[in-house]
């Protein structure tokens, strides 16, 4: 079983990202499960969402403590929240930032930074970063196929909005793929 | 002949002899007719009419709880609508269930605008549990929870104005009536039932046991309530008073004197200030509704 933890702020679409990644993974033939850290957080407060991937039916119901993957939707979270807590050796951390990192990830963990905000502003016209980060996640981890992500976005959003989000995801996907 | 009467509210019920509420049930079921479904709240009427298996109701009838008749009726109305059925839904609840414990359910149901008729038989206290005060108990009435005593003249508050509250909810038809005027009662209940949407009829129904008078006096006392201006029979359509019963008013004393619940106003000593306060309530009613019949001045 592989696990993903998404850190974001209320309103940034962390739960939607978890849901769409789970849908895309399931589309690709693996079992998946997505759920938020259930809370009473309002817009702007730090939130978390989780995704599990496995080759068999997922029964585990506890929260994710030792993730293989971490997505950080907003780098300002890093100083507030221990976003790297529990990450497994060999794991991958994706951080949305336009800056060079002034923090370190645990040993044996790969850090990928991407300026998802700029990508989103260009492609969607709004600073909605979750779809770009999904693209980056697909490229970095291989847990989901881009075509499956595309399908999930098309299913979730109206045509025009889906197209913009797919474009954003594609830009991020290509950047991460190119860097690899 | 096994059944000599054909009422929809059957003989054999266990109300006290001379019960105003039982008469209200007879008249309301008569006005509603067979194509209706009745919903009762917990209360005296529910208890005197439905000990298993002896139901006095010859129309379909349901009782769930004390406070939820309006919500139960909402569900029935919705179900009938869904099933394409035409029966009318009529709630029959006491003043405790209406003014107090059922208030939230009533407010919700009236606001949603269900097509039902809510009848409150108003005997001005919790009679089922032994004559405790309700939000409908009149000023200075002695009840078991508002007893007259050395430092008390009984209930400290006036009746809550339920008709106005329900009219404010947008109820298209709101009326008050009395068992003393059966024709008026029948007509108003029929009108309420015929009006689409939630309508409300409050029926003054004296309780010989709770108020303290002989059963044969039930009608006479109900009449006195109207003749003194302490009860007003009126009708409100879309929130406007359209019809009022006018009277040549008598002093409130004539009404108060007939009932043990007001006895402390006369014995051991006459309480003039309290009687005057009650007279002021009647005067205010008279002014608000314009019930006074102005007799031509006597010629000298």
């Amino acid at each position: 079983m592989r696990e993903l933890r998404i850190h974001g702020r209320g309103g940034q679409g962390s739960v939607t990202a978890a849901e769409l990644i789970a849908v895309a993974a399931f589309e690709g033939g693996v079992f998946s499960q997505a759920f938020p850290a259930f809370g009473v957080e309002r817009r702007g407060a730090p939130v978390q969402a989780f995704v599990r991937f496995d080759d068999k039916k997922i029964r585990l119901r506890s929260q994710v403590y030792e993730p293989n993957y971490i997505i950080v939707q907003d780098s300002t979270l890093i100083k507030d929240v221990n976003v790297f807590m529990g990450v497994r050796k060999g794991g991958i951390v994706i951080v949305n930032t336009e800056k060079k990192p002034d923090y370190t990830v645990p040993e044996g963990v790969k850090l990928i930074t991407i300026d998802a905000t700029t990508i989103a502003l260009k492609a969607i016209g709004l600073p909605i970063t979750n779809t770009s980060l999904m693209g980056a996640f697909a490229a970095a981890t291989g847990e989901i196929q881009f075509s499956a992500l595309e399908k999930a976005l098309n299913h979730r959003f109206p045509k025009e909005l889906a197209a913009k989000n797919i474009a954003a995801a594609k830009v991020a996907f290509d950047i991460v793929k190119g860097a690899a | 002949m096994a059944e000599k009467t054909c009422d929809l509210f059957d003989c054999g019920h266990r109300a006290c002899g001379g019960c105003g509420a039982a008469l209200a049930a007879r008249l309301v079921t008569k006005a509603a007719g067979k194509e209706s479904i009745f919903v009762s709240s917990t209360g005296c009427m529910e208890v005197f009419s439905t000990p298993y298996p002896e139901t006095a109701w010859k129309v379909p009838w349901i009782h769930s709880l004390f406070e939820n008749a309006a919500a139960v009726a909402s569900g029935i109305e919705a179900a009938l609508k869904k099933q394409g059925r035409k029966e009318k839904v009529v709630i029959m609840a006491g003043d405790g269930a209406t003014f107090d414990i059922g208030m939230i359910c009533i407010s919700g149901a009236f606001e949603r605008g269900h097509d039902f008729t809510y009848i409150c038989y108003d005997n001005e206290a919790y009679m089922n549990t032994g004559i405790q005060r309700s939000g409908s108990t009149p000023y200075d009435a002695s009840t078991t929870t508002s007893p007259a005593g050395k430092y008390s003249f009984g209930n400290k508050r006036q009746k809550k104005d339920m008709p106005a509250i329900l009219a404010a909810h947008g109820a298209p038809y709101v009326a008050t009536t009395s068992i003393a005027y059966p024709a008026d009662l029948l007509q108003k209940v029929e009108k309420a039932i015929a009006t689409p949407g939630p309508s409300y009829v409050q029926i003054h129904a004296p309780c010989c046991t709770g108020w303290g008078f002989e059963g044969e006096q039930t009608i006479a006392i109900a009449k006195l309530a109207i003749e003194t201006g302490l009860w007003v029979n009126y009708e409100m359509i879309d929130g406007k008073v359209t019809k009022v019963k006018k009277v040549v008013r008598k002093p409130v004393e004539e009404y108060l004197k007939t009932q043990k619940r007001f006895r402390h106003l006369f014995k051991p000593t006459r309480q003039d200030a309290e009687i005057a306060a009650i007279q002021a309530i009647a005067d205010k009613n008279a002014e608000k509704f314009g019930i006074d019949i102005k007799l031509p001045p006597k010629k000298e």
Partner: protein
Amino acid sequence: MALAVGCRARPGKARDNKTGSWRVFKPAFDHEKCSKCGMCQTLCPEGCVHEDAEGFFDPDYNYCKGCGICAAECPKEAIAMKQEEK
């Protein structure tokens, strides 16, 4: 008799309860004085007053509780309350 599911019942059984036994005073209806106005029937809380073929009214003593409303409200004073003989 087996119980009905959910404590439900069809009408009819209330009539098993003969409330006439509650009576202390018994109304005597005088047809001579009666104007056939029907007020006694309208105002009876028991609904036990019935009309005969000629339009006169009489109570069903099986159910009449003897409250006396009919006597008190009769405009012709055609109903008299008398001590019940038991």
